[in-house]
Symmetry: C2
């Protein structure tokens, strides 16, 4: 299937390489809780020579001490949030303890258009929402190296009661079975390696024919 990708027609460099696909990629890092998504995302941003940006969420909850508007969250009123929902302005959103949390579309579009890779880290349900809306995004599922490693990780996390840990493991198991909905499966055996693998995926995705052929034909027709 050939995707329609809007391409900006000026040559820029990315990691020293001529990119045929000038638009940034929307990269969804997902996976069950306890798998280490957040740590991998941070390691990914530590790779030098990246042009990644992290999608800032929007929320209706009040800012906590030290939180900066536009950096930690975009803080808005309930009215504004619901207006945006009606305007289809969220890539995905959810309500949690009476407050909204969502990923605003306009912010993402602006960054993608500027050639930035937008990285989003979301739970499995959020990722499936994004898939409905933007199937051309790159969906990466993070998995532990073994079932044992996952259980150990969930058990060591905080000071939860055995019944809560059991619930978490059950939830993780349901989520694990959804791996087939993603484009890539990355094993978190080592954080730096996993981040590096995601970096390779992003570079490879830019070279995909469906993302680069439009501009390539323009180049070959001498129209650039």
């Amino acid at each position: 299937m050939l995707l329609y990708i809007k391409i900006i027609y000026n040559i820029t460099d990315w990691g020293g390489i001529l990119k045929l696909n000038e638009r940034g990629l929307l990269v969804i890092i997902s996976g069950p809780s306890g798998v280490g998504k957040g740590t991998i995302r941070k390691a990914l941003f530590d790779i030098s020579d990246n042009n990644f940006c992290y999608s800032v969420s929007m929320t209706t909850r009040k800012p906590r001490k030290g939180e900066v508007d536009g950096q930690d969250y975009f803080f808005v009123s309930k009215e504004e949030f619901e207006k945006r929902i009606k305007e289809n302005g969220f890539l995905e959103y959810a309500e949690f303890v009476g407050e909204y949390y969502g990923t605003p579309m306009d912010y993402i579009n602006k960054k993608l258009q500027a050639g930035k890779e937008v990285i989003i880290e979301v739970e499995v349900q959020g990722a499936l929402q994004v898939h409905e809306r933007l199937p051309e995004a790159v969906f990466i599922f993070i998995v532990p190296p073994s079932k044992k490693a996952l259980i150990k990780r969930l058990q060591n996390r905080g000071t939860d009661s055995p019944s809560i840990i059991k619930k978490r493991i059950n939830k993780a198991e349901r989520e694990y079975s959804l791996a087939y909905k993603y484009d890539y499966i990355v094993v978190n055996d080592d954080v730096a390696n996993a981040a590096d693998r995601i970096y390779a995926i992003i570079r490879a995705e830019h070279a995909k024919t469906e993302r680069s052929i439009h501009r390539y034909y323009k180049l070959m027709e001498g129209k650039e």
Copy 2:
């Protein structure tokens, strides 16, 4: 589409990363003549930490001075070559000035099964033959950074007459239009960069869900 990939069930490392897809990849580096396929292939093999192997061709022509059987070519008789053709033993083959040249299947299968990435460098017509036979291979099309760069390169190559150069340019133009048949388009603006991009593609392909989900589910079922 889910591909059937035969997976060997023992954990090995590749570039320090747990590979869910244990079988090697067949990587086809192709593109019109004059684009620098051979140079890129050599640069790719210079990347440390690789487990690539180059597919040795089979031919019926006599070995030239210094050529080693099994290294430069597998040298066989015409009878043996034709027997293999009948047995469907070639990934692709062609006749050239009365001699056969081909890529034997058994050699490739052995290497793939051992987890090696098999790199093949072929002309566009050969790549299309491979595509018919093994669509699960990874097809990479090398392109020049511009039409001007291509023409310059073809003109500077050897001491051919203007009419031969013109024929080459025409052939290259026909071949360029076949880019859409490939999985990836890699620009040869710089040899090291192009090789590096191919390396990223190989790593990303291993993480593709269709290649890794089978083993992943085994891991999650605790069967490993």
